[in-house]
């Protein structure tokens, strides 16, 4: 669940990349307003295809799992497709997939977002339906239990069947000492089994409310018409009097290095991850960290890929990511070994690349390369109504305002070689690391024949 999401786009040109100059990127001409009940609304007209994306982002995620209910926010996300007062279970699929659209949702540590794409003549119905499940969720026990079983299969698929699933799940609990990010998002079978319908009702009334949500509509619509529909379907949803519970835990700086070892029953090649605590995605250092991460880990020509996979031939895969959250994030160096290579060798090589970047000035051409990569990737993302909506949602949740969608790339482009060195020193070289080694479990005698 690594996220490189906060790389957002704006009206810029790269002055110093290799000739010819990259194009100027037009800004996203969105509109914002806040309803009386606190619902934030962002709209962006785009008539390039006769489709529209409707997204509702709720500022609740894995970090808000109730005590003893690890994985609950994600389980709840699945239940939002079940019955409401006026919608049957799976009726969202009838209103999207069955008319040529689609829908899905995702849960991250900080946010849960629901996204629909429909032919634009269906927009009003989708607004009604999103308002309906914001107001009137009414899950029945049979649907709750079958969907919980689905989520447990999702857990088995991503954690138990995937040879590296247990490894990925070990990173958060090893890396955070106190912040609830440490519990991850997917949870575990036992705590999912402990969840009840009462938990579902309580979670909806606590977090699924207009003043904790962002409605994002992008694509083929008429602004005046859509404004009327938003008022009609959303403005009447009451804002609860109770405050929204917020996570207040602050992850303290690490005081020492630590290392952990994790095993799995089916691990063909060992792996290692090294993490450092990063700042919030809203930190002024975020842009420099994203550029540093791209230098180290973005693409085949990136430093860790060249050093570990290509030149050293000690890794099957190697990467580096700046996984920044609303609260503190993680900077993660990661590698899966080549056959016969020990995790300690990988860790040493990863650290050497980070030190080299921190201590030697990065060449201008290499810096220009990653900036153009980041710009092109961002441009790629905003080709569709869904992608534009995602960029807006990320800007609001992670950066603190939709306006950042049109300024963040300026910030990335302004990052200097000195900035890269400074943030690497601050967050990695002068800070404490946690390393997690992962290997085949050689002690357990597995059943079967």
């Amino acid at each position: 669940m690594l996220r490189f999401a906060a790389l957002l786009l704006c009206a810029v040109t790269l002055a110093h990349a290799a000739a010819p100059a990259p194009p100027s990127i037009p800004p996203l001409e969105f509109r914002e307003r806040v309803l009386g009940n606190g619902l934030r609304v962002v709209t962006l007209e785009d008539h390039s295809s006769p489709t529209v994306s409707v997204q509702v982002w709720y500022e609740v995620g894995g970090k808000n799992d109730p005590a003893g209910r690890s994985g609950f926010a994600h389980l709840f996300e699945h239940l939002m497709f079940k019955s409401t007062k006026y919608l049957k279970a799976e009726q969202f699929d009838r209103m999207t997939e069955d008319v040529g659209g689609n829908n899905n949702a995702s849960t991250r540590e900080d946010v849960t977002n629901y996204f629909d794409v429909v032919p634009s003549n269906h927009l009003e119905r989708l607004l009604w339906a999103e308002a309906e499940r914001m107001s009137n969720l009414d899950v029945i026990d049979a649907n709750f239990k079958s969907e919980r079983a689905v989520v447990q299969e999702e857990y088995r698929e991503s954690v138990l069947a995937n040879p590296y699933g247990r490894f990925h799940e070990a990173i958060a609990p090893s890396s955070y000492a106190v912040h609830p990010y440490r519990q991850g998002v997917i949870g575990n079978i036992d705590q999912l089994n402990a969840a009840s319908l009462d938990d579902v009702r309580a979670f909806h009334s606590t977090f699924y409310r207009p003043d904790n949500a962002i409605l994002i509509i992008t694509g083929d619509f008429d602004q005046k018409e859509v404004d009327g529909w938003i008022d009609k379907y959303f403005a009447g949803i009451p804002r609860p009097a109770s405050p929204i519970p917020r996570v207040t835990a602050v992850e303290p700086p690490r005081t020492r290095d630590a290392s952990y070892r994790e095993t799995g029953p089916n691990v063909p090649l060992p792996a290692v991850a090294i993490t450092w605590l990063g700042p919030s995605a809203r930190s002024p250092d975020a842009a420099a960290l994203h550029v540093a991460a791209a230098l180290l880990g973005n693409g085949e020509s990136s430093r860790v890929n060249q050093a570990l996979v290509y030149r050293g031939q000690i890794a099957q895969k190697a990467s580096f990511g700046a996984d920044l959250n609303v609260d503190s994030g993680l900077l993660i160096a990661y590698a899966i070994a080549a056959k016969g290579v020990a995790p300690a060798t990988l860790a040493k090589a990863l650290r050497a690349e980070i030190e080299r970047l921190a201590k030697t000035t990065v060449p201008a051409a290499e810096l220009a390369k990653v900036k153009l990569q980041l710009l092109t990737q961002a441009l790629n993302e905003r080709q569709t109504p869904l992608g534009k909506g995602n960029a807006l949602g990320d800007a609001i949740v992670y950066r603190g305002g939709a306006r950042y969608v049109n300024t963040d790339l300026d910030e990335l482009m302004a990052v200097t070689a000195a900035d890269v060195q400074r943030v690497l020193r601050k967050y990695l070289i002068d800070a404490k690391q946690v390393s997690i080694e992962y290997a085949q479990d050689t002690t357990a005698k597995a059943p079967g024949k």
């Binding site: 295809s49 088995r156 069947a161 063909p268 060249q306």
Partner: protein, 479 residues
């Protein structure tokens, strides 16, 4: 700013005449407009296909060789993919790191690989970088060096990658079911090869494949995005116009169309694995078959998308899986129909039995008209979304080129899907599925399901994971 209006609504939500208990009506649809891509041919035979999309300054350029995994010799599976992968690992002018650097300095990523009926090199860049990107694509396709050291490096990476993939129960079940369904036939092997075949591939095999198939009259250059056909043609001419067409005509490729017939189900025993992978595979129609569109609708009804019958029954009603899908993989000279799902070990027998029932049910009676209508609209929608990004658009066109289907089919596909009737769907299922020899493979911790599965399939064979040989039609070493 809207406070007054919302307070009024908030205070009196029931006063309005609007019936909030039912969804509002649907407005009249706006048409989906798909322009036919432009097709031109250079004097050397290279087809240049252009789908212009105005808007963002982004272009995908994809060079497709219309030969791929189907040309792998039987002992050398993975050859076409390894060859395509090595294109970017050194040319007469540049080393592998220099190529990666050059590509990424343009903001894009130079990807290459092979699949069924195609080998490709593709890159997405902003419009100003396109001439340089195309020059790079031309260089790697024409001047790849295939250095011995790079082959060894690629071989090690491929072997390590396979060692990971073959530990995943879903992937292992799928690959084993392909082999089981096709026996020694060409479609029984994987584009990634096997540990044994990858170990056997020699540099001369790669050089020979490259010389044989990488030629302008067996290639299509696809552009999708912010470029007009005139500029595209002139770029193509300058980058690839001097690419010589060999004097001899293209050799015809060998394709062993062996099918295994009825085969016993196989259980691959993976002790301790926390979930089982289930795969069912049978031969199916080619892309050019006259009943292709009814087949697409029948397959979607059965197992395509979220609301298919299989997903409804296995995921939504029974909670047995995170997702099940059925795939109609139609190729130039045949096809592979496969159903795949993962479930906890003890649920395997139920998942298999329900899947078989659902397959039969499609062939038993025509589906209700509204169900067929909904699935057709779902297909039309997902097809339309394939035109939204330059990468997807180029990939869709590349796939038509690889399959030898005129690209103007893009403009007709929606009408053809829309015209499929429930009767055609049931006829497709009766013709192709009623007596299909589905090869069933389950990879998982067999202690959880073996006895129950054996009751349904007394002839099933159990193979320990360590003894699996994907090169053997019986899936076992020494066979």
């Amino acid at each position: 700013m809207k406070a007054i209006a919302s307070i009024l609504l908030f205070a009196a939500p029931m006063l309005g005449a609007q019936p909030f208990d039912t969804a509002p009506p649907v407005a009249p649809p706006r048409p989906i407009v798909i322009a036919a891509p432009d097709v031109q041919t250079l004097p050397n035979g290279l087809r240049v296909v252009v789908a212009q999309r105005k808007g963002l300054p982004l272009v995908t350029a994809e060079l497709v060789i219309r030969s791929g995994t189907e040309t792998d010799p039987s002992q050398l599976s993975g050859l076409a993919d390894l060859t395509a992968g090595l294109l970017t690992k050194g040319t007469a002018k540049r080393s592998a790191p220099q190529i990666a650097n050059a590509a990424e300095a343009l903001g894009g990523q130079l990807d290459s690989g092979a699949g069924w009926d195609r080998s490709y090199v593709v890159m997405t860049v902003t419009r100003p970088q396109l001439p340089a990107a195309l020059a790079l694509i031309a260089e790697v396709v024409r001047e790849a060096r295939f250095a011995a050291a790079e082959l060894e490096r690629a071989r090690r990476l491929a072997l390590d990658g396979l060692s990971v993939a073959l530990r995943d129960p879903g992937t292992l079940a799928q690959l084993a079911a392909d082999r089981s369904a096709f026996g020694t036939g060409t479609y029984g092997h994987s584009s990634r090869g096997t540990p044994a075949s990858i170990a056997r591939i020699a540099r001369e095999d790669i050089v020979a494949l490259h010389a044989r198939f990488y030629r302008p009259d067996n290639a299509s250059l696809v552009f999708a995005g912010d470029i007009d056909p005139k500029d595209a043609l002139s770029l193509a001419q300058s980058a690839l116009g001097s690419w010589k067409r060999p004097a001899l005509p293209m050799p015809s490729a060998r394709l062993d169309d062996t099918r295994a017939g009825k085969v016993a189900p196989v259980v691959i025993a993976m002790p301790g694995v926390g979930q089982a992978g289930v795969a069912m595979v049978a031969p199916t129609i080619a892309r050019a078959a006259p009943d292709y569109y009814p087949g697409v609708v029948a397959n979607t009804l059965l197992g395509g998308g979220y609301s298919s019958r299989l997903n409804l029954e296995l995921r939504i009603r029974r909670g047995l899986t995170y997702g099940v899908s059925s795939r109609l993989d139609t190729r130039r000279t045949g096809g592979v129909w496969s159903i795949a799902a993962q479930t906890k070990n003890e649920s395997v027998p139920e998942l298999v039995a329900v899947s078989m029932d659902e397959i039969k049910r499609v062939a038993q009676a025509p589906a209700p008209a509204d169900e067929v209508e909904a699935r057709k609209l779902a297909i039309v929608g997902s097809l339309s979304r394939r035109f939204e990004t330059t990468e997807d658009l180029a990939g869709t066109i590349a796939s038509l080129e690889a399959n030898g289907i005129p690209v103007a089919e893009l403009t007709r596909a929606i009408d053809r899907i829309s015209a499929v009737t429930p009767q055609q769907v049931v006829e497709f299922a009766q013709a192709h599925w009623r007596d299909a020899n589905l090869a069933l493979v389950v990879a998982g911790d067999a202690t959880g399901f073996l006895d129950a599965l054996r009751k349904a399939y007394p002839d099933l064979r159990v193979i320990p994971q360590a003894d699996v040989d994907l090169d053997s039609p019986r899936l076992m070493k020494n066979f």
